[in-house]
């Protein structure tokens, strides 16, 4: 199968610092890939390498089947959207959009046609004669997207495009980017540190840490079957509850001696004998009261903190001597000091090897 973007054995060093090491990534035609990770994990660096703005130390990059490793950014068939918008401040919106086309010496009527189309798609026609300084943040980002759009490229690169916007605008533009992708069906590579953006937009998410892709999978798999402790802790807000202990056959024994049956858990490979392990359960997989009935593990717990969030309530308690947070409907009245029964949905939990930190 022909990949839209293919990264083979890519390495990048800044002096002695290895930013990316032997990285491989194949992206299908029309796929929306999100590179997700904390700052300094190499995700923006990888994007800059794909764009041709950074020279790689080793490895190859293919775009549309063509080896572009030595090509200039303009010859790679990419358009890029930056976090700070990077609009040319002295040019009007129209000239910002057409700058790249004018540089390439395109005929005027073709430029006008493409600018008009981009402006129509992004609904920025009324802004064409304004300077970037007179635009709001959302409008600026739209123009920045338009600049990539007019180039009529196969691959769009987004470098944290929504990070400078406020929460409301961010969710609006998020939907708009998704709509744009559905309409254009281009390959899109999107860098962010915001897991909501990653989960909502991506066909597949690549979670990166220290220049290495930890897991590359669709959002559902990433969320429900994280491949290691790092991914499990990074994805999800509030984050997954972790209980240290050991697993032996069908029983997990917590550090304080609490025994939790994990027979319902779907092991990747059943460990032989006793093994130090970490049990991870997401807050929404801890059930309360009647819903807890039938769960493999039910225990009494005392509510310590209640955080009402409107649509739901987060509550803190202690299970097996460890602070644990769980989610429940805001209709359930909860107060500090309440004694409740909580049940763990072990089948949807995760077990990790405590030493290798990989999923069991």
């Amino acid at each position: 199968m022909q990949h839209s973007v293919s990264i083979k054995d890519l390495s990048l060093n800044f002096g002695n610092v290895k930013v990316l090491e032997h990285l491989n990534l194949d992206i299908a035609q029309g796929e929306f890939i999100v590179l997700l990770g904390p700052s300094g994990c190499g995700k923006s660096t990888l994007l800059n390498c794909i764009a041709g703005l950074l020279e790689v130390s080793d490895g190859q990059i293919f775009i549309g089947g063509k080896n572009v490793t030595w090509l200039e950014p303009k010859d790679r068939g990419i358009g890029m959207v930056f976090q700070s918008y990077a609009l040319y401040p002295q040019m009007s919106v129209e000239r910002n959009l057409s700058f790249g086309l004018r540089v390439s010496g395109m005929p005027k009527d073709e430029i006008a046609r493409r600018v008009a189309r981009a402006a129509e798609i992004l609904q920025i026609q009324p802004l064409l004669n304004r300077k970037p300084a007179n635009l709001s943040g959302g409008q600026r980002q739209r123009v920045a997207i338009g600049r990539a759009l007019v180039r009529d490229v196969d691959v769009f690169l987004f470098d944290e495009p929504l990070s400078n916007l406020d929460a409301k605008l961010r969710s609006d533009l998020r939907v708009e980017i998704k709509r744009l992708h559905q309409r254009l069906k281009n390959t899109m590579i999107y860098v962010t540190h915001d897991q909501i953006e990653a989960l909502t937009l991506a066909d597949r998410i690549a979670i990166m840490k220290n220049g290495v892709i930890q897991q590359l999978a669709d959002p559902h798999t990433i969320y429900n079957k994280p491949t290691n402790l790092y991914v499990a802790g990074f994805i999800g807000s509030p984050s997954m509850n972790f209980i240290n202990g050991a697993v032996d056959g069908g029983t997990f024994t917590a550090a304080d001696g609490t025994k939790i049956p994990v027979g319902a858990y779907d092991f990747v490979a059943s460990p032989a004998g006793s093994l130090k392990a970490v049990l991870g359960v997401r807050p929404e997989h801890i059930l309360l009261g009647d819903a807890a009935q039938g769960m493999p593990f039910i225990t009494a717990a005392e509510i310590e903190i209640v955080e009402p969030m409107g649509s739901e309530t987060l509550a803190w308690t202690k299970v097996a001597g460890v602070p644990v947070t769980f989610r429940c409907s805001s209709d359930i009245p909860l107060a500090v000091g309440d004694k409740v029964n909580v049940g763990f949905d072990i089948a949807r939990g995760s077990l990790f090897n405590a030493e290798t930190e990989n999923r069991l």
Binding site: K74, M80, A86, F99
Partner: protein
């Protein structure tokens, strides 16, 4: 409210009754702090303005009045004869055309030197920040080191170089020297300014396919007005006030205004005409003075802009 809170939020009014604090806090003009600040400022402005005052006043007097000795007194009958003489008929060595040829020489030196040096430095700074090449940091370090070497050390080698280039004693020679010596500080200035511009702008232009010169002229230059003003002021005043390079490299027929001023003031023949000397000095200083007055605001703004990032 407790009693202490009321006390803290109130101040005794002149009539003795307590006014509750409300709105902006009153700011009395005569506070010890302000008195000290304004007296110091006043003293220093006097200190700097006094020589200028003496010069202007003396230039408006006649020689007999000057010989009388009251250098601080106002002129009895102000007249501009000394100014006219300084401009058009004072003797600089053998020529008696006043300062005017020197003025035009200075213009001929300053304008090309300023333009060439600023243009090269702007390209340098832009290349050093945005098109880093192997050894660009070392290149920059060497360039900066150049600004620490005293001019006198390089004078003789430069004389030999310009002689070998067959331009010694010409306008080209002095323009070349000014360009070379302006390079370290101007490059530093432009490099730091370009470093303060967002890097993503440069990246975006590269993705758009623009090359070295296109990005420089269409993206970077339109954003660099403040730093250009700073560079202009530095170069115009620096080159206009230069004496050493002018006297060494320009040749007598191209001697800039400063050199001719020196020849007028230090002429050995006749009695020193203090009024003409003063007028000539003020005339020579007029250009830098005007530049500072016109562009002072821009200067401060640009210096601040260029100083943000290293």
């Amino acid at each position: 409210m407790s009693q202490t809170a009321t006390m803290a939020g109130s101040a005794p009014a002149t009539s003795g009754e307590v006014v509750e604090a409300r709105g902006p806090r009153p700011k009395p003009f005569f506070t010890p702090r302000k008195i000290v600040i304004y007296s110091v400022l006043f003293f220093f402005s006097l200190y700097y303005l006094f020589p200028l005052y003496v010069m202007v006043v003396t230039s408006l007097k006649t020689m007999p009045e000057i010989r009388f000795g009251n250098i601080f007194a106002l002129p009895q009958a102000p007249n501009f004869d000394a100014w006219v003489k300084a401009w058009s008929s004072a003797c600089t060595g053998l020529n008696c055309q006043g300062l005017s040829p020197g003025f035009w020489n200075s213009v001929k030196i300053t304008i090309p030197s300023t333009i060439v040096s600023i243009f090269i430095a702007a390209v340098n700074g832009y290349a050093l920040i945005n098109w880093r090449f192997k050894g660009s940091e070392i290149f920059f370090a060497i360039l900066i080191f150049g600004s620490f070497i005293p001019y006198q050390v390089m004078l003789y080698p430069l004389v030999m170089i310009t002689r070998e280039m067959k331009i010694f004693g010409t306008l080209q020679a002095v323009i070349l020297i000014h360009t070379v010596f302006g390079m370290p500080i101007l490059t530093l200035l432009f490099r730091n300014y370009f470093a303060s511009l967002p890097q993503e702008l440069f990246k975006a232009a590269r993705v758009d396919g623009a090359g070295f010169w296109r990005i420089f002229f269409e993206i970077m230059l339109p954003m660099s007005l403040p730093i250009f003003v700073v560079a202009l002021i530095l170069q115009i005043t620096g080159i206009w006030n230069d004496f050493l390079f002018g006297v060494v490299f320009a040749g007598t027929q191209n001697a800039p205004m400063t050199v001719q001023l020196n020849n007028i003031v230090n002429s050995a023949q006749g009695t020193p005409e203090y009024n003409v000397n003063m007028a000539a000095t003020v005339l020579t200083g007029l250009v830098p003075l005007a530049v500072y007055f016109i562009s002072g605001k821009w200067f401060v703004r640009g210096i601040a802009a260029g100083a943000v990032k290293g």
